[in-house]
């Protein structure tokens, strides 16, 4: 066996093991959701296939799962869009204008994003109560925008930096306003960055637990992570099958979004903009 073959086998083996290591929890989740009993891995138990768990979470009125899903998608979607738009405005200014202390501003924003959410949540609860917004979409959208904004800004700044300044100059000469330049030129040229940022912001908001737990009281605005955590059986037992089925369904929007935007996320869109 040649050295080359050996190295190929080792690389393949390493890659396979890494993938397996990452995928085991996911496979276990899908399997548990499709099994009649959660402890099918224990000695003496066997796996018996059922779609009852899925049926229950999707169609039983008491589970509110579909409502949680809609809440999550709407709240995360709106939060991600607002965050990316605001971050784009900020990133444009920071990369295009001579902002005094621009670097310091970026670091300050990063520092703010490092605040543990748990330290903010009690005041946020008081604030939202005062506004009368507890258990509404906006009670979650606003904190999510604030929470995902620093990350979005940092990513967009790095993408906008790669868009040549001559593109702005060309836009200005062609008669466009700064906002038109941002929307019609910079955002499309930096599209891979914009889509990945939006997707990341969406996933962050979609997975958020603490604010969602504290700022919602029932299914009107409750999101999936909280919804699933609060699943309970009739006599207080934990319905693992249903929880796992719900978790599996929950991954669908994120997977679908990634697939839709996959082509957009692939970089190389700036090819031909300027002479390299």
């Amino acid at each position: 066996m040649g050295e080359e073959t050996l190295s190929k086998i080792l690389i393949g083996l390493g890659a396979g093991l890494t993938i397996l290591f990452c995928m085991v929890p996911f496979i276990y989740m899908v399997a548990t959701g499709l099994s009649t009993s959660a402890d099918f891995l224990q000695r003496g138990n066997s796996f018996s296939f059922t779609i009852q768990n899925y049926y229950t979470i999707l169609f039983s009125e008491s589970s509110h799962f579909v409502r949680y899903m809609v809440n999550s998608i709407v709240i995360s979607g709106i939060a991600a869009m607002i965050a990316v738009f605001c971050a784009a405005l900020g990133a444009y200014a920071l990369t295009r204008f001579d902002v005094p202390w621009g670097g310091a501003i970026m670091l300050l924003i990063l520092a703010i994003s490092m605040f543990p959410p748990v330290s903010l949540v009690s005041y946020l609860f008081k604030f939202m109560t005062w506004l009368g917004w507890i258990n509404t979409y906006q009670a979650l959208i606003l904190p999510y925008v604030a929470w995902t904004l620093p990350l979005s800004l940092w990513i967009l700044v790095s993408y906008f930096k790669q868009v040549p300044l001559d593109m702005d100059k060309a836009g200005l000469i062609d008669g466009a306003s700064r906002l038109q330049i941002l929307i019609k030129i910079i955002l499309p040229v930096a599209a891979p960055g914009v889509f990945s940022t939006a997707l990341l912001a969406f996933i962050f908001a979609f997975n958020e637990f603490l604010f969602a737990l504290m700022l919602t009281t029932d299914f009107t605005a409750r999101t999936i992570p909280v919804g699933i955590a609060l699943f309970q059986g009739l006599h207080g037992q934990i319905p693992w099958g249903e929880i796992m089925a719900a978790a599996t369904v929950t991954t669908i929007p994120v997977v679908v979004l990634t697939l839709i935007f996959q082509r957009r996320i692939i970089s190389g869109l700036t090819r031909g903009a300027v002479k390299e």
């Binding site: 060309a170 499309p188 002479k275």
Partner: protein, 398 residues
């Protein structure tokens, strides 16, 4: 349209303090003129173009388009680019990569909210003018450098701007394409008659394209005039060495009275015009400028006694380098002070051999040695061969 720069200045507040990018620029570009801003990198020529476009704000002076003041920091007047109706072509083209060629060209018209039919007509007409009708459905990434350049020019021309600004538009093209595009640009400008400001560091481009040329250095205008004027009557050593390729030789000489000068021990009479020029130079040290093509070379022994007969000066040197340029050969001949370049036909000579070179006294240009800046001096010295540099060091040590 006429463009006038009045006492224009621009400074930046950089990390190392205030940087003067432009100082006291006084220029007038005539209506329909092809005007070249020429200079080495960092001389401020692109900044001046950006000021004309409205992409940067001047810190002193005024800019006038015809009689309209478009920039006057004192009176806080600043007309933004979109209201100036100028068009610009960038060095790296700056095409919008996500738009097809048609949309790229149509962009300025769409922003101006022109009617769809008119946009179609204008884009098709401009594309036809530049010969890129069959590229309209492609994206910039699918085009060659030359094609992208044409798209960039089309986008600039589609609005029929009042002023056409070009920032080193040919520097990214290969040599052959550059020559052909240069000719086309000249023709196009002639045809359209739009006042054009063209930035370049390439003196050949400046000489071939420009109706007039302004040579800039360190943010100041060194000389303005027609290409021949800059070539034939440079006012400073910098202009003399920057214009022309290979550049003009500068040989240190000494004034001997009002009519005579001495180079390397050879005295000769000046023409009336030269005597008049030298009368204006106060210092004793002068620089004699002579273009390489005005020098004739002859190998072997020669009588040095008649070194300045019949208005022709002959000097002795040593051949240090031979550079074949194709049609002609560039000979580097080391003399005591420096290295002299001469263009000539093929000769049977070897490196290190003694050579004689001669030129007509009436072909020389005279400059005050004190006006020679450090940069030109360095350039002059860097032309020396190692051996000559050693020789000079030795001599100066003695």
């Amino acid at each position: 349209m006429k463009i006038k720069f009045e006492n224009l200045g621009k400074h930046f507040n950089g990390k190392g303090g205030r940087v003067h990018a432009l100082k006291n620029i006084e220029l007038e570009v005539k209506d329909g003129e092809f005007f070249i801003l020429l200079g080495p990198s960092g001389c401020g020529k692109s900044t001046l173009l950006n000021l004309a476009a409205g992409l940067e704000k001047a810190t002193e002076g005024r800019i006038l388009f015809d009689d309209e003041v478009v920039a006057d920091p004192k009176k806080k007047i600043f007309v933004p680019p979109r209201q100036r109706n100028v068009a610009m072509v960038f060095q790296n083209y700056a095409l919008y990569p996500h738009m097809k060629v048609f949309e790229n060209i149509a962009f300025p018209l769409r922003v101006a909210k022109m009617e769809k039919e008119k946009i179609n007509e204008a884009v098709n007409n401009t594309a036809a003018l530049l010969g890129i009708e069959d590229l309209l459905d492609r994206k910039p990434g699918e085009l060659s450098g030359g094609q992208r350049q044409r798209v960039a020019i089309s986008r600039a021309l589609v609005r029929r701007p009042r002023v056409f600004l070009l920032d080193e538009p040919l520097s990214n093209l290969d040599a052959q394409l550059r020559t052909s595009t240069r000719a086309e640009l000249k023709e196009l400008q002639n045809e359209l008659g739009i006042t054009t400001l063209y930035v370049t560091h390439d003196q050949t481009e400046a000489m071939t394209l420009g109706d007039r040329v302004a040579l800039l250095r360190n943010g100041e205008v060194m000389q303005v005039g027609g290409p021949e004027e800059l070539y034939n009557s440079p006012v400073t050593p910098f202009v003399a060495t920057f214009i022309g390729s290979p550049s003009m030789n500068l040989i240190p000489a000494e004034k001997k009275g009002d009519q005579e000068i001495e180079i390397e021990g050879v005295r000769f009479d000046l023409t009336e015009k030269q005597a008049e020029d030298i009368g204006k130079i106060k210092s004793k040290e002068v620089l004699v400028g002579i273009r390489p093509e005005k020098i004739s070379l002859s190998p072997g022994e020669q009588d040095q006694e008649n070194a300045s007969e019949n208005g022709r000066i002959t000097l002795k040197g040593e051949l240090s380098t031979v550079e074949p340029l194709g049609r002609e050969i560039l000979y580097h001949v080391g003399i005591e002070c420096c290295e002299v370049l001469a263009l000539s036909g093929e000769m049977e000579v070897k490196r290190g051999e003694e050579m004689y070179f001669s030129f007509d006294a009436e072909d020389i240009h005279l400059f005050d040695a004190e006006t020679m800046d450090d940069q030109t001096r360095k350039q002059m010295q860097s032309g020396l061969s190692k051996e000559n540099r050693k020789k000079i060091k030795k001599q100066s040590a003695v």
